[in-house]
């Protein structure tokens, strides 16, 4: 059963077994505005938790997307090249960025669950 976890920087990781699908949250896409380009990492790259994993370009500016956990990039969403607006339209579904093979499950414990993330959003909105 896939479970969502969230970072304070508004990335999500949808955990399914030992991999997780990573993207940005609905709040993040709303803040960014229209997404025009996503720079994705190469498949096979090792990323550390908190390190830059991708760059998302909106009309106005570029923003870094950080890896919620450490691990290996096992897949990236090639469809974003032709359809970057998927990040705005369906950030938790078609707008996914990449899949990470999770190196250390303990790192998930430091992330917020759905309820905690919603509470967090209430404090910053």
């Amino acid at each position: 059963m896939a479970e969502f976890r969230y970072t304070k920087e508004h990335e999500y990781i949808k955990v399914d077994g030992d991999t997780g699908v990573v993207g940005i949250t609905d709040y993040a896409q709303g803040q960014l505005g229209d997404v025009v380009f996503v720079e994705l990492p190469p498949v096979g790259k090792q990323v550390a938790k908190g390190a830059e994993a991708a760059v998302v370009e909106s009309v106005k500016a570029a923003s870094e997307v950080y890896a919620p956990v450490s691990g290996e990039i096992v897949a990236v969403n090639d469809e974003l090249e032709a359809a970057p607006a998927a990040v705005n339209q369906d950030p938790a579904g078609r707008g996914w960025f990449l899949k990470i093979k999770i190196r250390d499950r303990a790192e998930l414990d430091g992330l917020m669950d759905e309820a905690a993330y919603q509470d967090y959003l209430a404090t910053i909105s």
Binding site: I24, A28, G33, V36, V55, K60, A62, S63, E64, E81
Partner: protein, 394 residues
């Protein structure tokens, strides 16, 4: 997710740099009611977008009509004997030859011929009371208006400068702007491009110009604040009109190849380098009589050492202000001054300066974004054909 440090939003200003509270335009309450996202810009709360979003606002303007609040810009009337001839001492444009009701785009230059600001000058009245008192209507950039007005007062102390503090400035731009505005203001449909009509008299004068910053047909309306709010609301009630924020204003002007002061033109650029030589009056080239005229003439005669160009990127990744421009061999020959995604072009575009040898249309260059060399081609400006009003068919 966090903004990349070197590519933060060029449109927004840091609140840290401004100790004073932000000003608001007469339309502020309307922006809030419409759900605008407000950002600091030139000391004002300004809408960067509405819930529609920048891309949709941009496309709507080119398809139908967009209404912009640009009341933050500086508006003033300069009047006095031979006002046009005297203002020519500060700008390279031909103002003496400007007919009544006509508008000229020009720049304030410094002693080196570099640009202090760009502005629109309209001859309101050729002479008053049979004497040679003239009236000129000026529109200057918001971020420069305090400096510009001080500049005018310092150098033209014998002329009267009346700043229109209580006027809104609305822009209605797009292919149906004329049809829509004609429902509310008389006599606008046949106005030539770069002309102005004044409606009413005294303090409630409305100045309507057929001009804009989008490349589309459109109008700018200088109007007392309360009437401006009422006109904006009536225009927004029209089915063809949507409110448009500064975000789309920026993408529209970039596609039109138009300069943004502080980015594409500034105190390090002359009008010749900026590819604005067309705005220097023919008589002015010969006679001079404006700051930096010798250097400008040298550049006109021999060509400037560098030139503002348009760039079309091959891929979809944008290249923004500050991006290095290199030859395909890797030699840095310039820098991007404006760049991003063009919704009508449906691709990434930029403007910047390169050494003159690399400025020809069709030259292949590399834009260095996050350590990657993005291929690009020098493109002619504008990126999107302009659709200024050309008058009725003969």
């Amino acid at each position: 997710m966090a903004p990349c440090s070197t590519t933060w939003d060029p449109m927004a200003e840091s609140l840290r740099s401004s100790e004073l509270p932000l000003k608001t335009t007469p339309l502020h309450a309307l922006h809030v009611k419409l759900g605008a996202r407000l950002v600091p810009f030139a000391g004002y709360h300004m809408p960067v977008q509405y819930p529609t979003g920048i891309i949709a606002e941009h496309l709507h303007t080119r398809r139908r009509a967009g209404l912009f609040d640009v009341s933050h810009m500086g508006q003033a009337v300069l009047s006095g004997p031979q006002a046009a001839r005297r203002l020519e001492r500060l700008v390279p444009g031909d103002l003496q030859g400007l007919a009544q009701g006509r508008i000229r785009y020009t720049q304030f230059l410094d002693a080196d011929g570099n640009i202090l600001d760009d502005l629109m000058v309209t001859r309101l009245v050729a002479s008053l009371d049979g004497r040679d008192t003239e009236q000129l209507f000026l529109v200057v950039n918001a971020a420069r208006k305090a400096d510009d007005f001080a500049h005018l007062r310092e150098h033209l102390p014998d002329l009267d400068l009346a700043i229109l503090e209580d006027h809104a400035l609305l822009a209605l731009q797009g292919p149906v702007a004329a049809e829509v505005l004609a429902r509310h203001l008389a006599g606008v449909a046949d106005m030539p491009f770069m002309s102005m009509r004044t409606i009413g008299a005294g303090h409630s004068r409305i100045h309507v110009s057929r001009s804009g910053y989008t490349g589309e047909d459109g109008f700018e309306v200088s109007i007392p604040a309360a009437e401006g709010v009422a006109l904006a609301e009536r225009l927004l009630d029209e089915p063809e009109v949507k409110p448009i924020g500064l975000g789309a204003r920026d993408t529209l002007r970039l596609e039109a190849g138009l300069c943004l002061y502080g980015h594409d033109i500034d105190r390090t650029t002359t009008p010749v380098e900026a590819a604005l030589s067309w705005s220097i009056g023919r008589r002015r080239r010969i006679e001079g009589g404006f700051p930096g005229d010798e250097r400008v003439r040298l550049q006109l005669d021999h060509g400037p050492p560098r030139l503002r160009i348009g760039l079309r990127l091959e891929g979809r990744a944008p290249a923004r202000e500050g991006t290095d421009i290199a030859t395909v061999e890797g030699v840095i020959v310039g820098k991007v001054t404006s760049g991003g995604f063009g919704p009508s072009v449906d691709g990434s575009i930029a403007m910047g300066y390169v050494d003159a040898a690399h400025a020809n249309v069709g030259t292949r260059l590399h834009l260095m974004v996050r350590g990657k060399a993005l291929p690009a081609i020098v493109a002619s400006l504008p990126f999107v054909p302009t659709r200024h009003f050309r008058g009725k068919p003969a």
